[in-house]
Every structure is written in C-alpha cells, then in structure tokens.
C-alpha cells in the first residue's frame, strides 16, 4: 500500500508539473515504432507504419465531414535555392509528427521542427541547415534536389543531406550531436531517402544510378554514429548473383542498382524489404549482358547484419530504366483461400506484384497501368515477363519498346520510362483491403547511345559523369491515375483518370478517404470505395509530396508539403502550367 501511496503522490506531482511546463515528447523507442498504429495522433514513421501502409486511423475527417475541410495554417519554408543542375530545390518529404510537433525537410536537407500544438499556427521551433554543397551534390542528382524526410530515434531526429551525410539532431533544440559521411558525391553517390530506423540502426542507401555508382544499403549505429554494415545491391565477385553480369569486364562495378526510397520492415521475421533501382547504363543493355542482379528488384535483408535473405528481380536486363526503388507494403491476407504473408509492389514496369515475403516466391502479378506494350504479360508461375528469353544475354522484350545499338531510336514504350508508379508512395486501407496506386500513365520512347567505359576500366568516363547509355524522349503529354487494387488478386476495383502524372503519393484514412496531391497545386480527397473526388483545395503551385494525417487536442489535421520544383517533364507538355511559380510551404488542413 505504501508503494501505491507513493505512486499516487508521484502521479500528482507529475500532473502538476505537466500543467506548468510544456509537454515533452517521449523518447522514440523500438516498441513505439512497432506499435505506431496505437498512436494515431502521431505520424511516427515515414510510411505511417513499418508495413508501409500510409494509413491513418483517424476518422474525424471522413466522407461526411470532408466538405468542411479548410486551411488551418501554412508555414513558409526555404530550400528552393538553385544548385548544381537544378533551378530549384524540390519538396518530396513526408512529414513526421509527434505530440503536435511537425518535422519536415526541404530538398537541401534543412530540417524544420514546427510547433503546431495550438492548431492555429505553425511556429518554427528550430531549423537545422546542414550547409549542403549545392553545386557539388546537385550536379550528380539525377532527378531533382530531394530529401524525403526524417526519422525519430530516442530523443533525436535523424536526417540526411543530398551530399551524403547522416545527422543526429537533438529533438528539443535541433543541435547537431554528430554527423557521418555515408555516401560520397566524389563518385556521384547521393542520399535522398528518409532513414529507416530499426532498433538502434539507421538504414539508408545511395542514389546515383545514372552516374555509374554501384548501389548499396548501409546501417549506422545511432548510439555511436559509426557504420555497422554495408551491403552492395550488386553482388561482388564470387557472390551469388554476380554471374548475372556476363560482360567479363567487371561492369557490375558501375552497374547502378541504386536505393532512394525507404524500405518496409517485418518485425516478426526481422526482415526489411528494399526496392532496388535500375541497372546502369540505363539504355544501353548491350553494355551489361545478363540479368544484372539485383537491379530492378526487391531484396529481403536482415537489419542486424545486412545479409540478403532473398531477392526477386522484376525486369531482368532492364533496357527501360524500370527502377523499382519504391515502397513494398507488407500485407497478411488470404490468397485463393490460403493465409499468405505478402510483400506487394506497384512496379514502375506497370505490373502489380504480390510475393511471398517469407521466401520471395511469386504469387501473382497483374497489369495496373492503362497501357503496357513491352511484354504480353507475366509467367503465372515465376512472374518473369512472358517474352523473357533465358538463353539470351541481352533481352529483346517487345520489338520497338526499347532501343539498341543497331536501332538506336526506340519507337514507343508504355508505360513510359517514368513508370507506372515512380517513387510516389501508394497507400493501403486495411479495413477495405484496398491498395491505392497513384501513377503516371502514357507512353514515350528511349534512345541508345553506346556507353563508353569508366576510366578505371580503360575508358574516358570520369566519376560524376553521366552514365546513361542514351536518353528518354517524351513528345506526348502524359497523364495520371489513381487506382484501387485488391492486393490478393491484383484486380482493379476502382479507377480515376488524373489530368497530370502523379508525383505526390497517397494517404488513406479510416474516414474512408484517400488524399492525393497534384502538379497543378490541387490537394484532393477521394471516396475510398469509388475514388470519386469529394473535396479539393488548390495551393497554386505543384504538390510533389505525400500528405499525412495527425491530431492535436482531439482535432484531426491533414499536412502536406507544397511547391518547389515544377518539373519540366510535366510543365513542358502542359502549357496551362507554364507560368506557375515555385514555392516552399507546409499546408495544414482541419475541419
């Protein structure tokens, strides 16, 4: 009883203290990360949960109330400065929210801690600017100045910068505790993904597949700021898979297979699932005969030591740039009456895949894009493209869908090399059992320019020089779509055509809504069953980042980063967007 009395007194004093002092966020632990769904007021992990669902259990904003959704407040950010090849920095980040504080990043790696606890305004508590060398990093970024967000660990915020550094920041003050150079722009390595924190490890990977890197995944001990392991995504000499690089000239050393979106994680088997990028050079597959593992693949890895448990390759000897870095949601479901543990993926190559995540075996695959011409379909047993030739070192696939040295101008590729679904994340509603796939629709063509060798392999190409083996050509306007797919069959249950290719990503909520940003500045909400638009707001400049949801004092909000780079790949073929200007803003909406 004495103990109880003491506990009561302690509680009383704690409550009194709480009333007088600002609420301090609790440490972010592994247990909280595993149970992220039990804290619907917070958005603690990049994809909402380790399973990669981007699903909020909040339902105050729902199909009935969404008509009253309006701007609660906005916050102007920075980071749209030019640098390297880019006119503007970009915003592709997913906000992290804990106890009313929103943590966002801009493309150059500045982290902003924004106090949103009043629900009336966002006050920037602190800003950490890593002082990124913009020319150096920006000149070897293939696709924009990007930073997809932070992670929380204990009382720290873990962030990255494009120039390859990883940072541990004091969550309360923004003071840097340590920084570690992980990727090296000297050899065209950059980092754009939000770190995945598992226990005390921060897992990141290197972008640079268009500049002759050899991709890797890397883990840092957050207690010490020291590297724990690095696993190359292209197996080295003597390792299984290296034999799929048949050139005999060690071209695997510059074979791409980059990593630039956050993995999903299954705590039950202690495995994370990392999407892997295209082989390099992108459009000269004759330079790299063989299947080129593990480019255009998913890898299942152990977080403690980085060991590869299994891999599955989507597009062997990829001649298209079908980069498969994007998220791989984990779903447990009955398939044909049998309980299965799935890892699913809306691939850039235009197919939806469901694999058995315990062993990487193929379960099902189905086209989800409107038009697909590079293969007639997938082998129902293996998931290999039907026109894959196991006896060929350089795959033909469908004639005209890609280019070659003999026919350097490809005719027509559908989906375009942009995808399908590019990096922009899908969302999964576990109540309706539907996966929402935002994608790019339409066709373009690719061209081959015979790739010259790197200097370390006797050629003229220096590190940091382009290593693409050709180019893309887009002359027809692309459009976008949102599709609701049953992950146990791949069937499309609802579809919606969008005016613009989607590069924002989706949020699903228990309010039976799906939120999506658009290149014309619209943020829209859709009925989760029909995908019919039920609400929209236009911010007047493009949205390239995924929305999230959180709550403070019992009130639900939707937050999204708005603005920055207006991609010439979108605006160049959409005259009505030509004069839109850039911005760098956080928008927060509430009822």
């Amino acid at each position: 009883m004495k103990t109880l009395a003491f506990a009561g007194a302690l509680m009383g004093s704690l409550l009194a203290a709480t009333a007088l002092t600002p609420v301090q966020a609790a440490d972010m632990t592994h247990e909280r990360a595993l149970a992220a769904g039990k804290e619907p007021n917070n958005w603690l992990l990049h994809h909402g949960n380790y399973e990669g669902w981007r699903f909020s259990q909040l339902k105050q904003i729902n199909t009935d109330t969404v008509k009253n959704l309006k701007v609660a407040f906005t916050v102007a950010l920075g980071g749209f400065e030019s640098g390297g090849r880019y006119k503007f920095g970009n915003l592709e980040g997913t906000p992290i929210v804990e106890d009313g504080v929103i943590y966002v990043t801009d493309g150059w790696g500045s982290v902003y801690a924004i106090d949103a606890s009043t629900g009336k305004k966002g006050v920037i508590k602190w800003k950490f600017d890593p002082g990124t060398d913009r020319a150096w990093a920006g000149d070897v970024a293939c696709c924009g100045v990007n930073n997809r967000g932070v992670a929380l660990w204990k009382d720290k915020v873990i962030s990255i910068a494009l120039d390859g550094r990883l940072f541990s920041l004091n969550k309360a003050t923004g003071e840097m505790v340590w920084e570690l150079k992980v990727a090296d722009p000297t050899i065209a390595e950059t980092i754009t993904l939000a770190p995945l924190v598992i226990r005390d490890l921060a897992i990141v990977g290197s972008a640079g597949g268009e500049f002759g890197i050899r991709g890797w995944i890397d883990a840092t001990d957050l207690n010490t700021g020291k590297q724990v392991w690095r696993t190359y995504t292209i197996p080295g000499a003597g390792e299984p898979g290296n034999e799929t690089w048949k050139d005999g000239k060690e071209r695997w050393k510059h074979g791409g297979a980059s990593v630039w979106e956050t993995a999903t994680y299954d705590p039950e088997s202690d495995t994370f699932y990392q999407g892997i990028g295209n082989a390099g050079p992108d459009w000269d597959p004759e330079y790299r005969p063989g299947d080129n593992k593990w480019a255009a693949s998913v890898l299942a890895l152990s977080p403690n030591d980085g060991k590869i448990k299994w891999g599955y390759q989507y597009t062997p000897n990829d001649p298209y740039d079908f980069d498969e870095i994007s998220e791989h949601p984990l779903i447990n479901a009955k398939v044909n009456g049998e309980d299965r543990k799935l890892v699913v993926h809306a691939a850039r190559n235009g197919f939806f895949y469901a694999l058995d995540r315990t062993n990487g075996s193929f379960i099902l695959g189905k086209q989800y894009v409107d038009e697909l011409n590079w293969t007639p379909g997938l082998d129902p047993k293996t998931g290999r493209p039907l026109n894959y030739n196991p006896n060929a070192d350089v795959q033909e696939y469908a004639p005209g869908s890609h280019s070659s040295r003999a026919n350097p101008k490809g005719e027509r590729l559908c989906p375009s090399h942009f995808g399908g679904k590019n990096w922009q994340p899908s969302a999964y509603n576990p109540e309706l059992k539907l996966l929402y796939i935002p994608s790019v629709e339409g066709c373009n063509s690719v061209e081959t320019v015979e790739q010259k060798d790197f200097v370390d392999q006797g050629g003229p190409i220096n590190p940091r020089e382009r290593f693409a083996g050709g180019a893309q050509k887009t002359t027809q306007r692309l459009y976008g779509s949102l599709k609701a797919v049953d992950p146990t069959t791949g069937e499309i249950k609802a579809r919606l055509k969008l005016d613009y290719p989607n590069y924002s990503g989706a949020l699903a909520t228990a309010g039976n809504l799906v939120f999506l940003g658009h290149a014309d500045g619209s943020l829209t909400a859709h009925d989760a069953n029909t995908l019919q638009e039920v609400w929209s707001f236009n911010a007047g400049t493009g949205i390239n980042a995924p929305p999230i949801s959180f709550a403070v004092d019992g009130k639900q909000y939707i937050a999204v980063l708005v603005g920055s780079r207006q991609s010439p790949f979108v605006t160049g073929l959409a005259p009505e967007l030509k004069n839109t200007s850039t911005a760098s803003m956080l928008y927060v909406f509430g009822l």
Partner: protein, 169 residues
C-alpha cells in the same frame, strides 16, 4: 516554308553542329558586353537551366534531358544560335524559348499545329535581350574554346564548392 524545306533547314543545322569550329577571335569586351556575358551565364545556369541537358561546360550530355549536343565545338553562327534558342529544334528535345514561337510563322515558317508531335518542347520563356545575352555568354566562354579547364569550372561555379576538385591538375 514547306515541311520539306524545314527538314532540309534542320538537316543543315544538325550538320553544322557537328563540324568543329575554328576558335572565335577574341576581342576586348566592353563593360556592357561583360555585364551581358555575366547575365547570360546566369540564364544558362539557372533561369533557362540550359546546363541540365548540355552540362555546365556545354560539352553535351545524355540522360533525362535527352541527347544534348556539345556547344563547345558548334560551327553555328551567332544568328543561328539565336534562332535555335528562340525556336528550339523540331524533331529533337531542344526547347524553344521565344514565347510566340509557332504561334505564328516566325520559326521555320511553321506553327505548333503543323509540327504536331515533332514540335520542340516548350522551354523557359526568354526575352530578346536575354537570348542575346545567353548567346553572348556562349560565344565568350564556350563556343570554339576546346575542353573546359579547372579555371573555367571555378569561374562557372565559384570557390565555395568541391565541384571543380576533380579537374584540378
């Protein structure tokens, strides 16, 4: 101009682009020219973002920006450069930068409708003064200058970056 004449014109332009030009004879630029060259550099680097496809040193590139030619060994005249910047190059990824190109017959006698899918993409819109400046910059620093040097790199990017280190002898 008919489509056939346009095709001949474009072919000639392409052919010219591949012939190595003799280095331009340098003249001492006036203060006004120096301002224009600097203004033109910013347009090349940032506003029109020419470097995204052509690289900072205008030596040409491949990749997402398309197959962009080297401007360093171009044999086009200033007038031809101005025309290509204004009108872009039909059938290729080189964008047009005069807002009114192809709205009337000012570019190769063609409109956007007549060119259809062969029309060049729409680039950042530039004024005549800006186009003149970017061409002045190219002729002052790039066209006929041979491969870029470490000094060229520092001049382009400044001192506060590691960007030029690999070029240091």
């Amino acid at each position: 101009m008919t489509a056939a004449r346009l095709a001949i014109g474009i072919t000639a332009l392409v052919a010219l682009g591949w012939i190595f030009a003799a280095p331009a004879h340098a003249q001492t630029p006036s203060a006004e020219d120096l301002r224009a060259i600097d203004f033109g550099k910013e347009i090349y680097k940032v506003k029109a973002n020419c470097q995204f496809c052509h690289k900072w040193d205008a030596s040409g590139d491949t990749g997402y920006g398309g197959i962009a030619l080297s401007l360093r060994n171009s044999a086009l005249t200033r007038e031809q450069f101005i025309e290509v910047v204004k009108c872009g190059r039909p059938f290729t990824g080189m964008p047009y930068h005069d807002r009114f190109s192809y709205t009337d017959k000012r570019c190769y006698g063609m409109t956007l409708d007549e060119l259809g899918k062969d029309a060049p993409p729409m680039g950042e819109f530039l004024s005549a003064r800006e186009i003149d400046a970017v061409v002045k910059y190219l002729f002052a620093k790039v066209v006929g200058h041979g491969p870029a040097t470490y000094e060229d790199c520092v001049e382009f990017w400044g001192q506060n970056t590691r960007q030029c280190e690999p070029m240091k002898k």
